[in-house]
Structure formats: structure tokens, C-alpha cells
Amino acid sequence: MTPDDWRPTGSLEHLRQRAKMLSTIRLFFDELDVLEVETPLLCHGIGTDPQLAFFSTEFCFYPNPETLYLQTSPEFAMKRLLAADYGSIYQICKAFRNGESGRFHNPEFTLLEWYRVGFDLLHLMAEIDRLIQVIAKPFRTLKQTHTVHYQEIFRNYTGLDPLTFSACVYREFAERAGLPEAVSICENDHALWLDFLFSHCVQPHLGGNRLCMVYGFPACQSSLARLNADNSAITDRVEIFIDGVELGNGFYELCNDGEQEARFDKEIEFRARNGLPPVDKDQRFLRALEFGLPDCSGMAIGLDRLLMVMTGAESIEQVLAFPVDRT
């Protein structure tokens, strides 16, 4: 505590720019007739993703108190709206991720998430590009968008094939690249190797003064995307970057409830094996998938980071009124 820490860390100018960005986004989707929705931040169900730590809290509802979770993303609730046939929707909301704090992270952050019924991944990517250009306009001029396949960009910067894992080839590269610690961190975990090498050797080069969209991730990094219809080794997932900063993820959404449940089971099993807090599968979400999710694509963008790259802020706290350590 210091005498001055009641003050906001975000300047008035940055908060004005935030307000402007939010109204630009709302206008963009209103014109496309995409409905703005709100779904609960406080939920019974939570994602199984072992890489996302959540906050839980007690709902004191005598005589049956319950544990509720702060959402890590509005994905499940929004997909239930889609399954109920509410059409294309978007949401600007808070999401919460425990243990995340740093220059680019605050445990509570603002997310834009939208779903487009009838869109495949390429359709969605075209819309992402339009939206980012509209948002960027009052802030900075971006060069033409760079769209690239994951396998190609990974190969460009590492010489490795991300789809074929060879522990000794990956190890050799890490040692050559001055990252010998990767060997003990990643061991024989292909997905972990990809996370490590992508974030250290590829990501810093992506989207220099332009939007970069990387699509076609290896299948082991599917998350909630469906596998590519022509090549099951890759998944219909896109990740976007500006100035080397990751801004968001999008999927051609997995609709198959059986496959979704199998992915949940795998993650639950991973949690148990690694001593992470156990979670239950979100049954209402699975029932919605079983009922039928329309063919759709969805995207989530972290708006605090987007505002950072738009304004050139060095740290997330410059674009937040109060980061977690000032609350």
C-alpha cells in the first residue's frame, strides 16, 4: 500500500479510447444484425481445459449451499443460445482466469466473443479482418493482413514440422536455438513442445504493424475447434496477432457431442493425473450439443490487449482503470 495507490493506473485518455473501441464494436455488429447478449459470469459449470485455472465461490443458499465458478469464457452459455436457435450473437463481458498476472495479463479481463451461424473458418477470418481494420482506424494504420498456415509459419521460424513430432529433432533445435531448458520442461509432450517453441520462436515475429492470422493448428491443439474435413491432422482454428501479441482465438466450432465429451474426459483425466482441481463436465452444455449446434464459427478477442496494441501501451495496467493489485 502507498498513499497514492487509490489512483487509477489507466489514464483518462486510455479510458476514453476504451469507450470508443466498445462503441465501434457494438456499431459493427449492430449493422450486421448480430444480437448482443449477456450470459452469467457466475456459473455451475466450468471448462475442463487444464491450462485454465478458475475462481470458485460459495453460493450461500440455505440449506443447500453450492460452489459456483466465475466463467473463464462465455463459450458454453453462448453455444446453448446457438443450439436454442437464437441466431448469430456477440457478447462483451468479463472473464476470469486464476493465476494469470503480468505485463499482458490481468486475472479479470474483458472479452469480445461472437458466433456466426453458417460461417466456416475462412468466412470468420474475413470478418475478423474487417472488424480489426474498423477498430484500428482511429488509432493506427495497419499494413495488409498476413494470413498464414500454422505449419508453414512454424516451419519458417524453426525448420520443424509441427505435425510430426520427433523428440530428438525438436530437442536438437531447442539446443541450437539457445533454449536447452525446453528439453526438461517439454519432455515427450508434443503439445507442450508446440506451445513452447511457438511462443518463443514464432509468435514474436507475427503481425509487425499488421494483423496476422494463423490458421490450421495441429490436431493436438484443437481446443473446441473441429478437425479439418480434408485433413484430420489439423484443426479449423485461427489465432490472431498484432506486433507479436496474441489477441484471440477462433474456431469452426465442434458440433459433435460425442467427440466433445471425449475431449472433456481426456482433459478431466489429465487434471487428475497432474493434481489439478477436479471439475465436472458441463452437462447442460453437452445436452445442448446433443440437441444440435447449428453449423457455426466463433471468435474471442481480449479487448484489453487489443487496446494495448492500438494505443502502444507497454503494460495492461495502462489500459485498465484498476488492475488486480489496486482493487
Binding site: 491450462q51 505485463r103 525446453a182 520442461i185 491443439q221 496474441e246
Partner: protein, 190 residues
């Protein structure tokens, strides 16, 4: 000694890395939206002074290092070791040339300096930012030169060699910035 997890890696924290004491300089949390969290850490090996970058899986921990900086007075050089004293406690320490390093160029008897102790043994040291030392040898000056463009080398009483303006003479005391090894000014006789 306590252990510290990646979240506690603040600048200045002293930890053990690969058997050597090291100081954290910078710690960046790196986390893909969908993927493993890492901490990319810039860290200085306190034995060699080398700065390296090392990535940790978030949540990993390192053992703390018992490293402290103490102001001491330089006493004398016995040929093998240099001897220092903590003025408040009169506690004495001896340091070998490896621990003294380049600081030795600027150490004059009775001067104060900062000694870094690791497990109570001198590991490295920093001289004061400015020291005043007498010139033991330099070429005779050129009459009329007062600005010192170009300059000439001068040997100081500690053995260090610095460039000084042409008008500065053997026997004079000069002030030197130890961070750059550059001449600052002449020191007037008290």
C-alpha cells in the same frame, strides 16, 4: 533457505541457478490463450556477471540464495587477499582477486565499497561511483593546453590507467567515474 515460485521472481530476488547464485532482472509471464504458461526470466549470474535468459514452467520454483550487499571499508592487500571491514561491527572479510575483479583497479586503502557476500563469503564488489586517486605517472603536459582535447594516458596509484587532459600532471589527485573509467576533474588540494 526458502524457495521462491515463478510468481515471486521479482527484480532483485537472489536465487540459486545451476549451482551459482543469481539475481532476477526481469520476469515476463508468457501464456498462450490456449496452452501452457511460462515465465521468461532474465537473470544475472552473480559469479560471472553474465546475463542469461531462461524459461520456466509457471509454478516451478528455485531455492533462494543467501546473498547480501554490505558497505565495507577496504583495509589492505596482503599480496594474496584483499581485506575489508564492516565499520559498525569491525567484522573483517578477505576476498581473492576473483571476487575483487575490476573493482581492484579503484580500491585505495580506507575507501568504502559495496561487497556482495554469498554464504558470508565475498563474491563480488562494487567500488564507489566516484573515487579520488593520485597520478603516479603521466607524460609532462603541454603548456597552454587547458581544454584537454585528445588527452593522454595516466597511471594512478592503484595501477589503473585513465585518459586525462594534457594539462594534468604527475602527483595531482583526480576524480574518476568508476562505472565508465573516465576522468571527471582535478581535485583541489585540501
Amino acid at each position: 533457505m526458502a524457495t521462491f515460485s515463478t510468481n515471486e521472481f521479482k527484480a532483485g530476488l537472489k536465487v540459486m541457478l545451476d549451482g551459482d547464485p543469481a539475481a532476477i532482472i526481469e520476469n515476463e509471464f508468457v501464456k498462450p490463450g490456449k496452452g501452457q504458461a511460462f515465465n521468461r526470466v532474465k537473470i544475472r549470474n552473480l559469479k560471472t556477471g553474465r546475463v542469461i535468459e531462461r524459461t520456466f514452467k509457471s509454478g516451478e520454483s528455485l531455492e533462494g540464495a543467501d546473498v547480501v550487499d554490505i558497505e565495507m571499508q577496504y583495509l589492505y592487500n596482503d599480496g594474496q587477499f584483499r581485506h575489508f571491514m564492516v565499520p559498525d561491527t569491525f567484522e573483517q572479510y578477505q576476498a581473492d582477486e576473483k571476487a575483487v575483479g575490476d573493482a581492484g583497479l579503484w580500491l585505495k586503502d580506507q575507501d568504502m565499497c559495496t561487497v556482495t557476500l554469498w554464504n558470508d563469503v565475498p563474491l563480488s564488489m562494487m567500488p564507489a561511483n566516484f573515487v579520488e586517486l593520485a597520478i603516479t605517472e603521466t607524460d609532462p603536459g603541454v603548456r597552454g593546453d587547458t581544454s584537454g582535447g585528445g588527452g593522454k594516458p595516466a597511471v594512478l596509484e592503484t595501477g589503473a590507467v585513465v585518459r586525462v587532459p594534457l594539462f594534468v600532471q604527475t602527483g595531482e589527485v583526480i576524480k574518476v567515474d568508476t562505472r565508465t573509467g573516465e576522468y571527471v576533474s582535478r581535485v583541489k588540494e585540501q
